[in-house]
Symmetry: C2
Subunit: 134 residues, 2 copies
């Protein structure tokens, strides 16, 4: 798979499957969700390998590791800069387009090397906002 080789990660059945999953599912899945989705097709797969792979891919910049959900890391195969909204009620994550990503880099102190920028929003999504069942 070229996506992997391009990012200095040697392909393997497991790694390709994880990367492929992230490229085809825009749901910002957790490591466990990815594991559960792939396990039926790759019955020998282990959570450890999924974690290893995700860490590796994120280090190489092939995917994004999102900190928006305190409980578990979410992953995103789309590395183009954009924001994320987390609904506190249903847990859904939505992409938030960002007009001009440039503003965001201007304010860091000289000498600082930035490798990762995240723009996070939390609150209630439109659907959950209408519901009244506290």
């Amino acid at each position: 798979m070229r996506y992997l080789a391009e990012n200095g990660v040697k392909p393997s059945v497991q790694r390709v499957a994880v990367m492929e999953y992230l490229l085809t599912h825009k749901t910002h899945p957790t490591a466990d969700e990815i594991f559960s989705a792939l396990y039926p097709r790759i019955p020998t797969l282990s959570r450890t390998t999924v974690y290893n792979t995700l860490n590796r891919l994120a280090e190489q910049g092939a995917i994004l590791s999102l900190d928006i959900d305190r409980e578990k890391t979410r992953y995103d195969g789309d590395t183009f800069f954009h924001g994320h909204f987390l609904c506190r009620r249903c847990g859904k994550i939505e992409d938030i387009p960002v007009g001009n990503p440039g503003y965001v880099r201007e304010m860091v102190p000289a000498g600082t090397r930035v490798t990762d920028i995240q723009l996070l929003y939390k609150g209630l999504c439109a659907e959950c906002g209408k519901k009244n069942d506290n």
Copy 2:
């Protein structure tokens, strides 16, 4: 303490101490750091109470709960909107001023209620960037 009452949190020795700590320490401390700092002065203090208090204060908007550090939640007594930079090497968090916070609210979908926005930067701080000891 007025900061607490203003935010609908009944004052208590423990709560005042936590809030006070956050207002006087701009280090974005963890729950455990706050606990360890206050414990000598309040020997009956428990971690549970610190966690309870921090959750309460954050819910009420009296303090910020930061997701920048995956391992543990950091807290900030300064609720004025600003970004945060985390050095991956030394772990320090620096405040990043933000020119125009407005841009940030413009892109959320209609109907979405946003209660929390975080602008996170990660990388190497100026000092750590110079060091060569891998």
